[in-house]
Symmetry: C2
Subunit: 326 residues, 2 copies
């Protein structure tokens, strides 16, 4: 029996799905659902294609209360820039959670992932950053450096931004983009220690395999969101910082143990007691307990966020895109 | 950077991709590649949605020498018939194996899976059935009962067919369809033991959880392909039959141990030495060694077959379908 499938391109999705509070709220709902224990989120399917310096990851999650579930395919082919193509691509497929029928194909080339990843950073900031953030710092200068700051600003309207990157020109470009986007001062900060010292909210957005943020830089009233680590071997935060913080939060403990900051901490023999972000959102576990507390949130990216943003995208799609009967 | 994505519907795929020797040959190539040890085929991603009596499986494989790799999503929602919808659905996505870009979306509702599953049966029959098959028997009366017989007839042009099913009306309907399709006599056989006795090639195509084919029915010069088991707990062939046969062949040992006939054999404590079909196709392991040998082939369905049929579908698509720039 044939049925309608909605197809939206990246350009149509960029027009339909902004990074705004509605996106943050729908991703927050997904985190709250994770705390219920009724979400079904299988381990990530991962395939390496060594001959092309490529890999592909598949994520999914079923969330009770959401009408659909997404399956997201994220290829990363790291020789693509030599061919004039982006390394990261992919698409999301939204299925009916009642019938399993394909409802929508989002040919987003990773755009919806960008939005849901930044939105998760805002959820972390909403529940963990100090109530007042004057300065936000970002370590890293890529797409997520820009989007994480933009998303965090929705929930903590800070007055200025500092950016650190290994490449000063990239850091200056990132700062200029952030300033233009948010209409606040944003500057390149050559010393990451000073960036952390000056900030109440720091986001790390790098693919680092050695820490870019040292434990001795921590200070009272600091929140850090580390969103760069998403694979075994990646590590942005000094493992000692996890032990030194008052609270270490994971998006999903099982994932952070193998692909997040918790992996490096375990290897270093650092003992931490992780709390899941969903438990904090749902009120099951306490978040920030004082203005002076030091908190760290480790985001590896979950299929639950994909299901949330794909459902959101369909609800916003309106008359956009094409419909194919199949 | 935008690129073209080809989209084909089920109707377009049915017109473009017949179940013929070309489909059998491309699936055979995939099996041969499995023997090379260079195929990357991750474990199946599987998610249960108990609240909707549903499940979804994701399969993929990278095969050196194929330009693309497929990711196949197969939802099965078993309350759908109550809603007037088919239980099985799904789609395939074909990616470039060089860049990871999405090349094609096949909104096939499971059609390409039907073709590649039947084609694998023909590969098994080609390498394992006796050179001369006068009568083919099929146990089960569904879509695969029809397609397995149709595919096997491409490589062993048998003269007649017997069909057994729990429901006689269904068996008669299946036999009539096969007869009309192949232009040979096909009849409903009320006794499965006699069906096996009369046949040199038997295909089992049921979702059985208790054996439908007994060890004492085996006879010299018999080949059995069991393609129904694809999940833990399913079992079509008496475990003692696996031990009694001269040769027991798996599409993939690692899969057959958890979701094929090998699972039940292991539980029953029956010792068998499985050989992979790809090794036989590639000439690495012997197949049928005499006209009298008894052989069994256990097919659970592999991501390699999906990559093969999706690549084949794109090559046959011609000007069909739509192209979306994304």
């Amino acid at each position: 029996m044939s049925h309608d499938v909605h197809i939206l391109t990246e350009a149509e999705l960029r027009a339909a799905v902004p990074l705004d509070l509605a996106a943050v709220d729908v991703v927050e709902r997904a985190f709250a659902a994770l705390a219920s224990g009724r979400v079904v989120m299988p381990p990530i399917l991962s395939m390496e294609i060594a001959e092309a310096n490529g890999e592909v990851d598949v994520k999914t999650a079923y969330i009770p209360g959401f009408d659909g579930f997404a399956i997201k395919v994220s290829p990363g082919f790291f020789d693509n820039p030599k061919l004039g193509l982006p390394s990261l691509n992919g698409l999301m497929i939204l299925f009916s959670a009642r019938t399993g029928l394909v409802e929508a194909l989002f040919l987003d080339n990773g755009y919806l992932t960008d939005v849901r990843t930044a939105a998760a950073g805002a959820v972390a900031a909403r529940h963990l950053a100090p109530a007042t953030v004057e300065c936000a710092g970002v370590i890293g200068t890529g797409v997520q450096a820009r989007l994480q700051i933009e998303a965090a600003h929705l929930v903590r309207p800070f007055e200025r931004v500092e950016v650190w990157g290994r490449n000063t020109v990239s850091a200056e470009g990132c700062a200029a983009d952030i300033s233009a986007r948010l209409g606040i001062p944003a500057t390149s900060q050559p010393d990451p220690a000073r960036l952390v010292a000056n900030s109440q909210l720091v986001v790390t957005t790098t693919p680092a395999r050695e820490p870019v943020l040292r434990a001795e830089w921590l200070h009272p009233g600091l929140h850090i969101t580390a969103m760069g680590s998403d694979q075994a071997g990646k590590n942005e935060i000094d493992p000692q910082a996890l032990a030194a913080a008052d609270l270490y939060v994971c998006d999903r403990v099982a994932q952070c143990e193998v692909s997040g900051e918790l992996e490096a901490a375990h290897i270093a023999g650092v003992l931490v007691e992780p709390v899941e972000l969903g438990d904090i959102v749902a009120g099951v576990a306490p978040g920030r307990t004082s203005p002076e507390a030091i908190t760290i949130c480790d985001l590896t990216g979950t299929g639950a966020q994909d299901t949330a943003i794909a459902t959101h995208a369909l609800s916003l799609s309106g008359g956009r895109g094409q419909t194919i009967r199949s």
